[in-house]
């Protein structure tokens, strides 16, 4: 029991918190991408595969050109292409988003293994460290927030930008409109399907950038299915975060903390060393059970303040196609 406690205390170490923030960048981009896409009404279920294929594209381009930054647009293009395929098959062909998304998950995972096979174990290319002068010397916040690299800083900016776009602009209101009540949005003259294409593509590009952030920053280089299961976590965090960018960002950090905690526990419970690293995955998804538990939600309804923090209702028209009569 004391081992458990020590591992818990280590969580509050500046270095640990700093590494959680740094390691969260990939999931941060992808989660924002999925939140945008779902908010506009399109579920991109392919994340686990498209993020992987994008991670490969990012690594391959960065490796071949020796310019690390070129990896990011390449990865964004891959993520966008997969997302557009989902949007097209749903909007134009009326196919089920979940079905197409699942098939694309399977296909892009296998494609990443097939095309990436010859890149396994190649020397990694990484984003250079860059501590922001001045800001990085603030005690505690400096090392935690500003002693990383451009990708990590961009992940903060993406969260803030997503929040501002969604809740502080007219465009964001339209985005919510096409995900909640597409008929009403259409009646107000908003081009529902055009915007759905746009936001799904934008979301896919962010998912792709998340993939590149993984292979070029979080865990350098390429191996067989390096981002395995992270895409499913992204989908879970979007729900956990109640389709709100800031809550989702907290979810990403909580998942990172859970992972760090599980790793900290290994020295205390060496016999579980193979099992512990995988515990955060079921834990995170089972956390959904709590936030979706009907009895709890009913109880919360009595407390408007708590309700605002914890309640999560999906966009009403999520997963459905919108057809103009």
């Amino acid at each position: 029991m004391s081992g458990f406690f020590t591992a818990f205390l280590e969580m509050f170490d500046t270095a640990t918190i700093s590494s959680i923030v740094a390691g969260a960048s990939a999931l941060m981009f992808a989660t924002m991408g999925e939140t945008i896409s779902e908010k506009a009404g399109v579920i991109n279920l392919s994340v686990d595969g498209s993020m992987m294929l994008a991670a490969l594209a990012g690594f391959v381009i960065a490796f071949e050109t020796d310019v690390v930054w070129l990896g990011f647009p390449a990865a964004a293009a891959v993520g966008m292409a997969v997302a557009l395929l989902i949007a097209f098959s749903n909007i134009k062909l009326g196919l089920n988003q979940i079905a197409v998304g699942f098939v694309l998950f399977a296909l892009s995972t296998e494609l990443s293994r097939f095309l990436g096979n010859s890149y396994v174990g190649r020397p990694p290319v990484g984003v250079p460290a860059w501590d922001i002068p001045g800001l990085s010397s603030i005690p505690f916040f400096g090392p935690v927030l500003f002693d990383h690299n451009l990708v990590v800083y961009l992940s903060y900016l993406t969260v803030i930008a997503t929040y501002l776009l969604m809740y502080r602009t007219r465009k964001g209101l339209e985005m919510q409109g096409i995900g909640e009540r597409p008929e009403a949005a259409h009646a107000r003259g908003i081009p529902v399907n055009k915007l759905r294409y746009f936001y799904t593509a934008l979301g896919g590009a962010l998912i792709g950038i998340g993939g590149a952030a993984f292979s070029l920053d979080v865990k350098l280089g390429w191996s067989d299915r390096p981002t395995r299961n992270l895409g499913w976590i992204v989908l879970a965090i979007v729900i956990f975060g109640g389709w709100h960018p800031l809550r989702a960002a907290i979810g990403v950090l909580l998942f990172g903390a859970l992972q760090a905690f599980a790793i900290n526990l290994i020295p205390e419970f060496p016999s579980l060393s193979q099992v512990l690293p995988s515990i955060p995955f079921p834990a995170m998804i089972l956390a959904l059970v709590v936030v979706n538990w009907k009895a709890l939600l009913k109880w919360l309804d009595r407390y408007p303040f708590l309700r605002a923090i914890l309640r999560s209702d999906p966009p009403t028209a999520i997963g459905t196609a919108f057809e103009v009569d």
Partner: protein, 356 residues
Amino acid sequence: MNRARITTLALPILVVLGSVVVLLILAGTNPWDPIRIIVEGSIGWPPFEGGSARKVGDTFMVWVPIALASAGLIVTFNAGMWNIGIEGQIIMGAIAAALVAREVSAPRPLLILLAILAGAAGGMLWGLLVGVLRTAGGVNEIFGGLGLDFVALSITTYLIIGPWARSGVASTSGTNPFPDNALLPSLGGSKLSPLAVAIAVLALLGVWTLFRGTLYGLKLKAVGRNRSSAFLMGIPTNRYLLGAFAICGALAGIAGTSQALGLHFKLIPAISGNFGFLAILVVLLARFQPIWVAPISFFFAMVAVGGPGLSLRLGLHGSLGGVLQGVLVLSAMLGLGWAAYLTRRRAMTESGVSSG
């Protein structure tokens, strides 16, 4: 056969062949070689000739879990549920069957019967859990199922390196082999178990009958099509959803039993062989028709068994088989979707002409 029908069928096939050929040329090989190697590695070349008994046996024993899981998924799909938790249900079936194989001593027929029942019960329990989370907890079945997939995987790893560790060194390569007494009886010289194949065929026939000739199947379909109308018609929708998960879980659990006692003969971390996810692709490609599931699963099983030969013989990664399956399902879906779109558009312009 009219023109639209031909386009519907031909387009996906052409797209598949085209994309596979392009992919293979990109990878630097002659497109014909991989196909021959997959056929040769799974059912022998020329097919089913003498000397290929072992391969054919393996292919059938891969077909069994895919077909069983697909049969189960047809039930949950008809109830309108995305049972992504099928992987976990296969794993729990394998664990339950392994428990019986390791701990129970009984005459062989009884022991095998017990193991199959235990496997079905293990899978059913895991399926029902997804169902209960959905109906009582309001947790979307995709995520409840995924969470339980991860839990089942963790339990397997824990058992393999912990309580069921191999004597001597604990390693993630698997437990000790099960006693011979508990293994599914097979035809000489191969792993082919007529019992397992028979169960899979019966499951497909059963699911076919369920939706062709029973009131239960009809009501289940009603629940899947429109839950609120079904409820208003007096169907206890939650009970039907749980029923669908129970049936699917039980079939997946038997698939896991076949994996443990018919193919691997021990518990390994990847005991599900990813066949649950593969079965989702099979069912989507078969458009939820049990009759189509049988041949499509067989083709997928051939790719799964013959695929690894690609790396030995051609230096291509074995995942080419998975790519092929994915491209096939995707292009079939897009092709059919496109054909339906054209039909819709034609109907719309025609009605426009007549009314105008």
